[in-house]
């Protein structure tokens, strides 16, 4: 297997990290909608966006690695 092909496969594998980010962000906003539907006065939106940013960041670690593999090495 030559290096270019290995880089493509590696970048693809690194993007699997985004699965977790997708599940995490979905969970965060599902919980936000549920809580706001039960109690519209709940002050939880800032926490939801904090959770969104933290969940998204874990996926972006993988995406950053994929970009580094593709365009730097």
């Amino acid at each position: 297997m030559d290096l270019a092909a290995a880089k493509m496969i590696g970048a693809g594998l690194a993007c699997i990290a985004l699965v977790g980010a997708g599940i995490g962000i979905g969970n965060v906003f599902a919980a936000l909608i549920t809580s706001l539907a039960r109690n519209p006065a709940a002050q939880v939106t800032p926490f939801a966006f904090l959770g969104f940013a933290l969940a998204e960041a874990t996926g972006l670690f993988g995406l950053a690695i994929a970009f580094l593999i593709l365009f730097v090495f």
């Binding site: 940013a53 998204e56 960041a57 995406l63 365009f71 730097v72």
Partner: protein, 243 residues
């Protein structure tokens, strides 16, 4: 179909005014230029906003007051009232990162927060400062931070190393979170921009995606500044209150 993409070109640091001390390259770069710009914009916002302070605030003054009250409220909620003495540092940190992220969204701008060394320097300062505050306030009692309460002694053998590890990994996660968000976001914008010319007449599809991504990136720029600041507040609370 071969597409020529150079999405990481935008992160190149170019010296604008070369300055050399022996072997040390201390040139004034485009990164430094945008840091200076962030400081100038932040100072201008504060100075202009508080120059003619009136009881009924105008536009500038409201903006300044909103920013001030946002951070003051964040510290009150997350650290407690004794955290207010660290307000100047946290407020500066927030404005610097926020303006760094937002100035990077200007076309042909440079995002200095997309460089790991910049974010790591900031996270390292936060980590060292918080640790020094914790030791200065509690002395040797600070070590009890690593020992969870109400745990059977056998489990402590496992939990204490995990607590220590999770404490020392903080500056890395804090810096990589900001760096990866900025780097991945701007790279993604550049990749979709590369598709626009490559797809010819159908280039409007990636162009539309790019427009939507820019809104997402502005949201992320503000959110990541908020996250960095609120995590700094949480670390500070740990140092002041120990759990």
């Amino acid at each position: 179909m071969a597409i020529e993409l150079h999405p990481l070109e935008q992160f190149t640091i170019e010296p604008l005014i070369p300055i050399h001390f022996g072997n040390v390259d201390a040139s004034f770069t485009n990164s430094a230029l945008f840091m200076v710009a962030a400081v100038v914009v932040a100072s201008a916002l504060m100075v202009l906003g508080s120059r003619r302070a009136s009881l009924v605030p105008g536009r500038w003054q409201s903006l300044t007051e909103i920013a001030y009250e946002f951070i003051a409220g964040m510290i009150d909620e997350n650290v407690g009232h004794e955290g207010q003495e660290y307000f100047p540092f946290i407020f500066t940190l927030f404005l610097f990162i926020l303006l760094g992220n937002l100035l990077g969204m200007i076309p042909y701008g440079f995002t200095f927060t997309s460089h790991i060394i910049v974010t790591f320097a900031m996270a390292g300062v936060v980590f060292l400062g918080v640790t020094v505050i914790g030791i200065a306030r509690h002395g040797f009692h600070f070590l009890s931070f690593f020992v969870p309460h109400g745990v059977p002694p056998v489990l402590l053998l496992l939990l204490v190393p995990i607590e220590v590890l999770s404490y020392f990994i903080r500056p890395f996660t804090l810096s990589i979170r900001l760096f990866a968000n900025m780097m991945a976001g701007h790279t993604m914008l550049a990749i979709f921009a590369g598709f626009v010319t490559a797809m010819g007449i159908f280039g409007f599809v990636p162009l539309g995606v790019d427009v939507l991504l820019i809104f997402l990136e502005i949201l992320v720029a503000v959110l990541q500044a908020y996250v960095f600041t609120i995590l700094t507040c949480l670390y500070l609370r740990d140092a002041i209150h120990l759990h």
